[in-house]
Symmetry: C3
Subunit: 450 residues, 3 copies
């Protein structure tokens, strides 16, 4: 069924167009308004086999060809009188009151409010509720505002097909649901008209749950990248004139990403600990958490996905390392020096073990994180019950955190105890990054044992 | 709930089988026909606790054991008379008229048409509509044709669980919806009986929205691969006898894939530009686009995913390069030559910067494309509103295109200005591939500034 | 709509809280019980604008502040008498009979059973069915048991939002569906009350379809890893004192994973062959398969995904190989030896072809497996009809199997015919792994030609 809406509307050629249910004798629907939305709505309705009459205050000013030929153009009174039961209000909510004269003509009919909210934070009533106050004898239904004109014109195959609908009138809702289905959308019943506020605001949202986590992750990246520039490029350049600016593009990014991913992963499990401490401290688990903690708890999924993104990019960057020009340069010169020295390179047992271990931990950690990311897909998460969800998210989460910390510690090996690891008396960034995760992991283990 | 249909039907052992709602006293259902579909349907119905009677013209010819024991076998009249309200028509639509004698016995009952269309392009009525014409006093419901016999027998856990249903009778639809639910399927109301045409054709589809984009991508691949074979293998072999046929398996594929991915990505954004030009030229945005442009606009998602597939394969292929036997061969011989020359390899600042930059752009571009691919998953896209969808698809899309072009240009570096880059007077394939994307990107920027 | 439940409940600050539909004059709802679930339910109901009265046998013992202020606390009789039509039974099913005195007060009201099953295998009636027996004059609806207290308190944005509902009373179901929607959940109608058994067991499941395939895959891994330890580490150490223990961490894992992935992929297609043989042998396709084969057939998706996981990890591990310390060691020493020998490394045409071919087959095989994995996502699979699903799963599956076998055979090249490939007279593990897949593939081809 993925394709049933992708046929061009009103195509004049042969083909699947004749498969449209034009034979359906559906009652005439009126649209008040002649803007972009009214036009796209009319197009889709006509293509779905519905008779449409458009009502406008100044019919004569509508350019010919704006609406499809099958659409009848009338003044507002004429359009309303032709509508059997459904009237779309495709005009600005500010102009609703200009229709008060039609109150009796609209009585008993279903008025579909397709307007969006003007801003995110509405005070007072929603547009649909105000419409219901103005026309108490009509059945007001909220709907179709979440659909774009593009989706109306070409079918909803690109974005979502859902049409959110709410109304206090079961009868009205039923008719709009039926029409939405006929037009190829998936109507979703959102309950009573009080839900209109939420529906009107829906199209204005721009990933609200992501902004916080993205900002946090970005700031962490800036910090670690800046620290890396200072410690790995600027200070060596100033102190010894050592030119390593080429590291800006890839090396330093690849050094910062794992630090960011590790800290972000710890931030996923940190608020849970905080909540547990708070409950212990307040002596009851029946007190509401402060709202910042609530917000944090609700952004754990986003933080986890950003951590996965960072870890995955780090993985790909690391795998790119042998492809670099400088990598060839180093190998060749190492071989050259070995030849000059006249001996084979000696076997470095510890070095070999170190690289095998940190690579293995890294790969496995990334693998576990991928499983977590997959289960956070809505369609996969929906097949899990709460017990399974907790098992996956907590169980696999702890394993991923443990493996990531081991990856970092094996990478660091015993260098943390050598003075050379602290040029300019500053610790390497992976040591900074591993502190918070270690605290979280230690407390997670302690909490579980209790 | 992912598992409620995976219990074996009619298992004679202990276990979850006794959890089936056999106690439900549902009214007897008749199935007319004794083919594969009738049999699987009977199996599933019995397993869902429904009493089933199968009606066949020649009951005696049905091998014993074909239907489960709980099923009663009768002639057609007998079966119909036993059915309380539901009759499944599991016979070929051509034989519907042979049942005209049962017209009065079927009056008032719900007839479920489970047939598929014979071919994709139907002219005239659908099977269900013809059935409704033949039995005007019955309630005809279309449904279950999208379900395979395998899904009926073992549960729908493999493919989709949706059962598309349509009818002009609300009463009939309600009963079939209820039964479908009892059988463990997800009934989807598709509206009036005129939707039957679409439902009957649904099982015949074979990824129609993919054929065009796949063909285009494949032709592009053939072109770039063929160009590579000519320029990199055949001509050098003919001119200088240089044997590089080993490059056929991996090297040339890895050279063609990024070119294909880049051009395909440009093809995602090209039709939008075209549409904008067309609107400017015709002076109105209220003219319908030509159907080829409409089709193209509706295949952008598929083109984008194919571009991502190409880019991802290119990424993995590139990361494989150091694993090749020839890579070791080259490094060792480079070191050998260096030793012979008696000097270390000199520091190649430009070469180092070049490789750092093109690798970094490539990784980031692939990362952004992955995000785009994830949001094109239906369950993720459904959570986005139109504004968010546009933000992700356009915003991230431009970034991905820009990064891909930069990746190509950094890879090319200044070689485009050297005569050695044009052996046999033909440009390298990445130069060919970057032309269209550059045009698209330049116009995208210009369109946005206006 | 992904966000409508993430607003903190009962927040005392300004913000989106005032957008809640508090104005909705919904009838009072009673909750019997004062445990954790009752409390969370009350919180969510109040936050959704519903008037709530909680009934408890010992009201005085409830600590103040346990329930939000808007909730009225009464004894059980008082609570039931205030409830207009809905009563939540938030107490242990064992205590249902203690409410028998309220039988007449509860008559005509909707009783919502929110209990879970005590264990996976229930014999006898479900809790909801027993409740319906105890209160024959009430409308019993099963529901909300699949929702956790955490989801009730903070919104269902983490896990699933589905609320599974069933009842023999259409009226009662309708009211609960409406309330669930008002609370921000997605009610799913599961049919009659006999479905309660299944719904009560649902929260106890822990990935039942995964346990078998995971155990099989894990045992295969143990076998191949153990075989590798024996053949590659222990025997050489005992026989020649050769220390290769460093290979435990990465090398041997990377040697075992592809073997596991290959055998598991063959296990996906093996039961289908078995089923075909069985049908041929029994001479009929109308006999039910034995239950072990049925189970196996129904676990193919899980086996396929585990095979993909193994193959993907193998891919990443292999790409890590050049990053290892030992890899640098080997290259440098090869170069050193070449220099000592005084000649360039000779061109090894066969070796070059071998590596190009097995890498190419491996990358393509993994790519095809990824496509298979993507189509097994529920939201993607739902958009495919049966024909498309079979095309993808069988068609691409055979290609993936063929490519994987070619990858293995090219990797093995002609070494299988050299005696050095059999140290200690044991074949290398990839030879063991390739046997079953070859048998499966050969029979698949033969079956298709018939």
């Amino acid at each position: 069924m993925a394709e049933d809406m992708t046929t061009p509307l009103l195509s004049d050629s042969e083909g699947p167009a004749d498969a449209l249910p034009v034979c359906l004798t559906s009652p005439t629907v009126a649209i008040l308004g002649s803007g972009d939305f009214a036009r796209s709505l009319a197009l889709r309705l006509v293509a779905s086999g519905v008779r449409v009459v458009v009502g406008s205050r100044c019919v004569n000013r509508i350019p010919s060809g704006l609406f499809p030929d099958a659409v009848e153009l009338r003044n507002q009174e004429g359009a309303v009188s032709q509508a059997v039961c459904l009237v779309f209000m495709a005009l600005f909510p500010e102009h609703y009151c200009s229709l008060l004269g039609l109150q009796s003509a609209l009585a008993g009919k279903v008025l579909v409010d397709v307007s969006n909210a003007a801003e995110m934070n509405i005070h007072g009533l929603s547009n649909a509720e105000r419409l219901a106050e103005l026309f108490p004898n009509s059945l007001v239904v909220k709907g179709f505002n979440t659909v774009s004109t593009w989706e109306l014109q070409t079918g909803a195959h690109d974005g979502s097909r859902q049409v959110l609908i709410c109304s206090n009138s079961t009868e009205g809702k039923k008719k709009v649901v039926q029409l939405a289905r006929q037009m190829g959308f998936h109507p979703v019943d959102m309950g009573g008209l009080s839900a209109a506020r939420e529906i009107e605001v829906a199209p204005l949202r721009l990933l609200p749950s992501w902004s916080g986590p993205v900002v946090v992750t970005f700031l962490l990246f800036l910090f670690f990248y800046g620290y890396g520039v200072l410690l790995g490029i600027l200070l060596p350049f100033l102190a010894q004139g050592h030119n390593a600016f080429y590291r800006l593009a890839l090396d330093l990014v690849n050094e910062s990403l794992p630090a960011v991913a590790l800290v972000t992963l710890a931030l996923v499990y940190f608020p849970g600990l905080f909540a547990a401490w708070l409950q212990l401290w307040s002596g009851t688990k029946y007190r509401r958490f402060p709202s910042w903690l609530d917000n944090w708890l609700q952004r754990r999924k986003q933080l986890g996905l950003l951590s996965f993104l960072g870890a995955a990019l780090h993985g790909v960057y690391s795998l790119c390392l042998p492809l670099r020009r400088i990598s060839l340069h180093r190998i060749v010169n190492t071989a050259y020096k070995q030849v000059k020295a006249g001996t084979e390179e000696p076997w470095d047992e510890l070095g070999v073990w170190r690289s095998e271990l940190y690579l293995s931990c890294g790969v496995l950690g990334l693998g576990v994180l991928s499983l977590l990311a997959v289960t956070s897909l809505p369609s996969v998460g929906n097949t899990l019950n709460w017990r399974e969800f907790t098992f996956v998210q907590s169980g696999l989460g702890y394993i991923a955190l443990t493996l990531s910390i081991m990856h970092t510690l094996f990478f660091g090996w015993d260098f943390a105890f050598h003075i050379e690891a602290y040029p300019f008396y500053m610790p390497p960034s992976y040591l900074l990054a591993v502190v918070l995760p270690c605290i979280v992991l230690q407390n997670l283990c302690r909490t579980d044992h209790r």
